[in-house]
Every structure is written in structure tokens, then in C-alpha cells.
């Protein structure tokens, strides 16, 4: 396991922020295979602590594949293979290493999916699930944690009187915020979002985006999005991917205003194709 510099060099000499960001994770030469198909090709980027990193790129370029490496989701399926490293800080451990238990990784890195996927349980139990998985049984602790998480996901006021109701009764946007609360309850260090608003209407989308911006102070965020404006609005850093390769990684402002690569510019300005 390799030690990483905590203050990385900015590609192309972008204007550095006042406080230089600290890496929460460092991806090194990451390749990923679905059977014979090489879906990720030698990707290396830092993921900065308490900042939002957006992954953009055309459909099928490997954004979800990349994201799902962080919580070892691919381990659930046969015939998949990681090659390369994702070094988690401050532990300085490669979470892709064979001997690292994927469950330990998921205990620290949470995920919110594209489609809200609540469990067939009450609102309360949905949020408490991750805590129960961690062996927490104490009712008072559970109640406190659930409330805190629901507040964190800006859902508390809407559901505080109906915690015992089945989660399916909530609207799509509420369900997605419930899924965020569910992830927040376990105090993750990194939170992965895979197109969290693609199934939602503009108002629900706006509230989730606002939430993501607020969460930044507590947790490191990695978000996949198809929506260029969304990437521009919520993220601090942006990675543009194409056909499994990283084309450009920089501060979001730079990517959107003055990208270095023609390819990136074409995609951003919609002249892609």
C-alpha cells in the first residue's frame, strides 16, 4: 500500500482554492473487467475530502462501473475483476485488495441508487436498517439516529408523524430522500450517488441537489450525473469519461469554462457525437 500526497497537484495549473483540498481517496490505474470486456481503462484521480466530485460522460462510458468499484458492488456478480487500486485515506488501504472484506468497505462508504429502492418495511425501519446491520439494538439510540438522519435528508418534517407507515407510500422524491437518510444514518465517510435524480421531477431534483450541497460539510461525495447543469451546480470537481477512459479531471469551473481537451469541450457544449 502506497502513501499518497495529501495535497495533489492540479492538472494544468488551475487556480488553486485558498485551502488546498485533501484527498479522501486516491484511484490508481484502475481497470475493471466484466468478463472479457474492459469497462474501465487505467483511471487515476483523487477524490477530495468534503467536496463533491461529479462524473460525467455519455451513456455506457463506465460512470456507474467506476462508482460501484468504491463500495465493491461488483463483488456481488460473478465474472467481474478489479485491477488497480483505490486507496482510502487516512487508513492508506487499497479497498480493492482481495483480503479487504467488501462488507467492511460498505460499512464506511454508502450509496444512493438511480431508482429509489426502499425496503418493504416502515419508514423508521428503512432508516434503521443500516444501524441494525451494525448491531445497534438500543431503541433510544435508534430513535435518535433515525431522526437525525431524516433531518439530514430534509425529510423529517414530512414523515415525523408517519414513521410506522410503509415506505412505499411515499412519493418518488420522498423515497429518494429516504434512501439518502438510510445511507446517512450509518455516518458514511464517502457517499456515492448514481444519477440520484434521474427518476425525479424538477422540484424533487432541486431539493436533492440542495441536500447534496449541504451534505458536503459532513461527507465526501461522488456523484454520477447525466445532467450537465447538475454537475455544474453541485460539484467542486468534475471528471469527464469516455469509453472507459478518463479524458479530463479538473475543478468543475475549469471543466465547464475552460476545458483543456477539445473532446471535453465538445461534450460540455453539446457538440458531442
Amino acid at each position: 500500500m502506497v502513501t499518497e500526497t495529501s495535497s495533489p497537484v492540479f492538472p494544468g495549473g488551475a487556480t488553486e482554492p485558498v485551502v488546498p483540498p485533501v484527498a479522501k481517496a486516491q484511484v490508481h490505474d484502475l481497470n475493471f473487467f466484466y468478463g472479457e470486456l474492459r469497462a474501465l481503462k487505467g483511471i487515476s484521480i483523487p477524490i477530495y475530502k468534503h467536496l463533491v466530485t461529479a462524473l460525467i460522460g455519455p451513456s455506457g462510458c463506465g460512470k456507474s462501473t467506476f462508482l460501484r468499484c468504491f463500495n465493491r458492488m461488483h463483488d456481488l456478480y460473478p465474472n467481474t475483476r478489479y485491477d488497480g487500486r483505490i486507496v482510502l485515506m487516512p487508513d492508506n488501504v487499497n479497498i480493492l485488495h482481495r483480503e479487504v472484506d467488501p462488507i467492511e468497505v460498505r460499512m464506511r462508504i454508502g450509496m444512493v441508487f438511480q431508482k429509489p429502492n426502499p425496503f418493504p418495511k416502515s419508514i423508521f425501519e428503512n432508516v434503521a436498517y443500516g444501524l441494525r446491520v451494525r448491531g445497534i439494538r438500543n431503541r433510544a439510540v435508534l430513535t435518535d439516529k433515525v431522526e437525525e438522519a431524516l433531518r439530514g435528508a430534509a425529510l423529517w418534517d414530512e414523515v415525523k408523524d408517519r414513521l410506522a407507515e410503509l415506505a412505499f407510500n411515499l412519493s418518488g422524491g420522498q423515497q429518494q430522500r429516504l434512501c439518502i437518510a438510510r445511507a446517512l444514518a450509518t455516518d458514511p465517510e464517502i457517499l456515492l450517488f448514481d444519477e440520484p435524480t434521474s427518476a425525479l421531477d424538477p422540484i424533487a431534483t432541486a431539493s436533492i441537489e440542495e441536500l447534496i450541497a449541504d451534505l458536503r460539510s459532513k461527507v465526501t461525495i461522488l456523484i454520477v450525473t447525466h445532467n450537465m447543469q447538475q454537475a455544474a451546480r453541485v460539484s467542486d470537481y468534475t471528471a469527464y469519461m469516455y469509453l472507459g477512459e478518463l479524458i479530463e479531471f479538473d475543478r468543475t469551473q475549469t471543466i465547464f469554462v475552460k476545458p483543456k481537451k477539445k473532446q471535453t469541450e465538445d461534450y460540455i457544449t453539446g457538440r458531442f457525437g
Binding site: 467492511e104 460498505r106 441508487f113 425496503f119 451494525r134
Partner: protein
Amino acid sequence: MSQSNSLAVSSGHLAPGTALRRAPFRHLKEKLIEFVLLGAALVAVFTTIAITVVLVYESLGFFEFVSLWDFLTGTVWTPLFAEPNYGVLPLISGTLTVTAIALAVAVPMGTTIAIYLSEFAPHSVREVVKPLLELIQAVPTIVFGYFALLFVTPLLQDTIMPGLAGFNMLAAGLVIGIATVPTIASLSEDAMRAVPMSVREGAYALGAHKLGVAWKIVMPSAISGVIAAYVLAAARAIGETMIVAIAAGQNAVFTFNPTEGAATLTAFIAQVSLGDLPHGSVGYRSIFACGLVLLVMTLVLNVIGHVLRRRYREAY
């Protein structure tokens, strides 16, 4: 509706400028299909109604001779005696005992197999085990009956229960249970596999273990289908005839003790239909009353299943 649809569809295939064709027979064809489907549905409904009507009608003939009260509360069932008694409780106790034993075997085993196949088994194992399970369902129940009588009962006598009667409900119930395991396993597995992967991923992403996901997430998600499988298995156990007729003896005794022999409703019906009583006699008519009891039991079972499904309903 269908008219405008057909126009829209055909226009897509035509070169620009071609006149839109009318499809006058499409409407007729759709009506015909609808009619055939409705007919198929009606056959099922009418059959059910006809069975009920025949059972009720024939039972009325029986209840002219035996009071409903005596029938439902009597604990002696001896239609073949010179001085016959028509208390149905012994048949009900036999049916319930055998069904309970069968479910005690089939529910845990079937559910475990379903969870294993759906959540743990590699693809290759599932491809072998699933057809095997379905094969067991195809074995004629008379084979299971003799298996219970000639293998399970002696086995129990030789090992843990030396004093067990040759005809007993225990062996019959155990074997019916084994015979219904595939029903539960196969149907429950279908229900579990229908649970979207995204829900499992949600649980795994929170750090859950495989067993926890299977038991706390997949099982509740599939509960509707799983309960339907239990209800069907219970209905099959209640309706099972051959295995009990062979392995439990045909001696109607009012008891819930599984080590004793007993007759069940279906076993009695089979016995009488095979010619022990003259047609038209009171004893013969009693089989329709028994049939009616079976119908009511099945109905109650379905209502229970319905209530349970509503209670644990979910959205997949």
C-alpha cells in the same frame, strides 16, 4: 380506439403520399380474441359453481336424514355399521393433524430450499435442482403412499418410535410434507427471484451480509408469493388422498395424536367411491357432505391467505 391505432401503425410502413388503408377486419379479430378469452374464464367460473351446486344439492339429501348439528359435533364416524353414526369430527381431526404435520415439514424445508436456490446457489446448481424438484411433483402420490407405509413407518419403528402403529398419521403427514416441499420451494423461489436486484443492492450497500439480505429483505419483499405457495401447499395437503388412505389406515378415530391411525375426509370419500356403500344410500350421500366440508376448509384457507397477504403486502 383499435381503429385509430391500426391506422397509425400502418401509416408508419407506407411510403409518403400513399393513402391510409382501412383495416376493417382488425376490429372483428380483436372482438373474437376477447370472446374466446372470456369463454375460457367462464368455463373456470362455471365449473366451480357447478361443483358447489352439486355438493350442496346432494348434501341436502344427506341432511334430511342426519341433522347438521349431529354431523358437525359428532365424534363417531361409522357409516359402514349397521347402526351408523355420522359425526364428522374424526375425519376433520385426521385431516387437520395430517395437514399440520405435512406443513411442519414442508414450510421450513421448502422455504430453506427456496432461499438457497434464489440467493445462494450458483447458476449451475439451480439449473439442476429446479427440474429435479419439478420431477418430484410428477411422482404419483400412490408411490409416496407406499413409501410412507413400507419405508417411513418401519424406519420410525426401528429407530425412535418402537411402539408406533403400522397405520399412523405421522408417517403419512411426513411423506405428504416431503411431497409438497417442491411446491413451496419452486413457487417461493419464483417469488424471491422476482424481487428486483436493486433492492438487494440497497441492503448490501449498507453493509448487510448475504443471509441478512435473504431473510430480512428478500423474504419480506416476496412474502406475497411465499404465502400463496404456503396456501397452495396446505390446500394440497388437505386434499391429499392416496398417501393417507394407504399409510394412515382408514379407521376414523377422533384424535389429534399423530402416532395413531386415522381417516381423513378425502380418504373416506375415496373409500366410499370405490364401492363400499350402495349408491343413493345415506352413507353414500355422506361423501357429498364431506366434500362440502373440504370446500369450506379450502375456502377458509384461501381467506386466511388473502388476509395474510394484505397484512404483509408489499409493492413488487
